[in-house]
Amino acid sequence: SQTIHQWPATLVQPVGSPLSLECTVEGTSNPNLYWYRQAAGRGLQLLFYSVGIGQISSEVPQNLSASRPQDRQFILSSKKLLLSDSGFYLCAWSIRDPETQYFGPGTRLLVL
């Protein structure tokens, strides 16, 4: 069966520090991968998605970036965090169609 991992689970970072969140998927090949951010009490905002290694599409201009160095690895990064980057970051994968996504446990980021 397929599983998706995210780490760390929680993270507290000072403003201006770098960020690296990692997501890996097991048990499937060539998945579509997604990064979302969710503010408290709000819906999910799609940040990036990838249909293959090295292929990244960005949905929202921001100081975040994403990379896909391996088929089942998706990384979310920032060189300098802003207070507004705080939130719940979710990674997801899909195979059959974008409407059927499977989400990871998420990373709660607090920027102080």
Binding site: R42, G43, L44, L46, T100, P105, G106
Partner: protein, 113 residues
């Protein structure tokens, strides 16, 4: 992608059947309807997907009328553990773009003892 409208919140009691309706007036011919469930501090979980009439699985049922302009997620005999946010999405599963996937604010369902 068809826009969807859901109630912001709903309350019910344990053992009751809960029906959450989603409106999607401009649904296209090839669009499917997908529902997700999200618990606090967790990622959304796929519940059910359908195109027309009725779909049932071990978790829920999805009712879609003939005009497909709305859909109803039915949760039988809810328990406290069904307290969550429920999202309705509409899109063409055969060729939709990930960029068109929109998770709105969903419906916050609260179950009381």
């Amino acid at each position: 992608l068809a826009k969807t409208t859901q109630p912001i919140s709903m309350d019910s009691y344990e053992g009751q059947e809960v029906n959450i309706t989603c409106s999607h007036n401009n649904i296209a011919t090839n669009d499917y309807i997908t529902w997700y469930q999200q618990f606090p501090s967790q990622g959304p979980r796929f519940i059910i997907q359908g195109y027309k009439t009725k779909v049932t699985n071990e978790v829920a049922s999805l009712f879609i009328p003939a005009d497909r302009k709305s859909s109803t997620l039915s949760l039988p005999r809810v328990s406290l553990s069904d307290t969550a946010v429920y999202y309705c999405l509409v899109g063409d599963v055969s060729r939709s773009s990930a960029s068109k996937i929109i998770f709105g604010s969903g419906t916050r369902l609260s179950i009381r003892p």
